[in-house]
């Protein structure tokens, strides 16, 4: 654990370099996402209303707000995973590394390869062992090199702080792990494909406080190598582990600033009311 430096930039497997030509350019710049006047609709219902914000690279950005404010929708718009739900539609732009991911020439599969995601409910594939779960992304993208896969398996599990707990049980089903371990397995699975960004949709909301603390510590460590955007309804969590915080209310972005500023001296009355617990 100690001899592995988490500060190393994520290396790119040779087989995936074709898919991520712009990696170096993005990693070098300060900005990961530029969201420009984004609106999202589920049928006629507007979930996000004209949101613009700039998400910095290699930092942790938290999105907070009361239930139904559109924070998950905003997160899902960042890697186009919302397109799985029929009748969704977006307006506006999301620039990732300077490129609009909603441009007609963009393949959403290639985008998602660079922008990983961890979900609220841990979802290791029930038909697969721990090792298969971690490597499934690489294998289904055509990586066959056994030595490389073995190396990525250990590396990903170490980065997800799970290696020491499962190294003897790699062939056991992923769903045999405890809830917190399953969520870290999902994080290992997401980072095994070497994305540049990790989107996290309330990754600790289904976990007990000890497992939550582990996930938060992990998020903090991962932020050295990844841009992390985390949705949380837990304000303490946002305060503890993020660098920047966006406050959403009724689909609109009320305020976006450094987490210290938002939690100590917010410029908007509604932000203050929300973080002090007066509503929401």
């Amino acid at each position: 654990m100690k001899n592995f430096s988490i500060l190393e930039p994520p290396m790119i497997p040779p087989s995936l370099t074709m898919a991520c030509v712009e990696v170096s350019a993005t990693a070098a710049s300060e900005v990961a996402f530029e969201v420009e006047r984004l609106s999202m609709f589920y049928g006629d219902k507007r979930a996000i209303d004209d949101v613009s914000l700039t998400i910095p690279s290699r930092k942790i950005t938290a999105i907070i707000g009361p239930s139904g404010c559109g924070k998950s929708s905003l997160l899902r718009a960042l890697n186009r995973i919302h397109e799985l739900v029929p009748n969704t539609r977006v307006e506006g732009k999301v620039l990732f590394g300077g490129e609009d991911i909603y441009a007609p020439t963009i393949d959403p599969v290639a985008i998602r390869r660079r922008i990983g995601m961890v979900f609220q409910k841990s979802n290791p594939f029930p038909t697969m062992s721990i090792a298969e779960n971690v490597l499934v992304g690489l294998k289904l993208n055509g990586v066959r090199d056994r030595a490389f896969l073995r190396e990525r398996l250990e590396q990903s599990l170490r980065m997800a702080a799970l290696w020491d707990e499962v190294k003897e049980d790699l062939h056991k089903p992923g769903v045999s792990l405890s809830g917190g371990q399953q969520q870290r397995l999902c994080i290992a699975r997401a980072i095994a494909v070497e994305p540049e960004v990790l989107l996290m949709d309330e990754p600790a909301s289904a976990l007990d406080p000890i497992a939550t603390a582990k996930i938060e510590e992990l998020i903090h460590e991962l932020s050295a190598g990844y841009t992390i955007v985390i949705v949380t309804h837990n304000m303490q969590q946002a305060g503890r582990c993020s660098d920047y915080t966006a406050f959403l209310y009724l689909g609109r972005l009320i305020e976006f600033d450094s987490t210290t500023k938002i939690f100590s001296n917010p410029s908007q009355k509604r932000t203050e009311d929300y973080i002090t617990g007066r509503f929401g």
């Binding site: 995973i81 390869r113 660079r114 995601m117 499934v136 992304g137």
Partner: protein
Amino acid sequence: MKATRQDKRFWRKTKSAIASGLSFVCALLVIAPLALVLFYLIRSGASAINWSFFTELPKPVGVAGGGMANAIVGSFELLCLAALVGIPIGVLGGVYLAEYGTVRGNYALRFVADVLNGVPSIIWGVVVYGLVVLRFKSFSAYAGGLALGFIMIPLIMRTSEEVLLLVPAGYREASLALGVSRWKTTVHIVMKTALKGIVSAVLLALARVAGETAPLLFTAFGNRFWNHNLSEPIAALPLQIFAYAISPYDDWHRQAWAGALVLVTMIFVVNLIVRFLTRERIT
């Protein structure tokens, strides 16, 4: 006041007892025919089942012994042909409904599949008679397999759609978020997760068509001898049972009972396998 309350309580209890008694009787009425059929089948058929029943061809009338070997093998051949038609189209149709179709298109497709599931099986026999038998001027195993396959398609399609929809959306999202393409997600994640359910759907459809007689009358036609040429008429267990059951000979009647017992046992075993598979899927 207190007495009335007790009266009410007594009346309530009585109503409850009557209702549960009635439902128990109804449950018995459901099970009783099955039990009676099985009992009668075993009593009448078991005596005619012996080794030669499974290994010998039918004997001429008046000659003792003989069996239904050709019909048993013929039924298996027909089921294999039906599986070739029914499984790929049925399963892929289910995948389309569960994973790809649009809301309105799916509505229409489901409606058509449900109507097809309700079409009497003899209609399928007539359809294939017109499509294949008349064109090639011969009854054949191909025609029989095709008719059974047509019956299987909507059955498998609807059942596999249902088991695919049971796979939580979270698995699809997790796979897509790894940069895995849609079709690889469908094959390697969704279908793999639902595999036992799909196998169950296929087995149930096979069990259903294994006992079909009407569609085979116009297509496979039946055959009293061995036939290994699939473009010729072929024997099938239900057809043989039918032919023997309407004959005037006691000897053949006994053989028909034995054939029915074999058929029911096969279907029973398939259902047991499905039970076993689905039980594992749920826990």
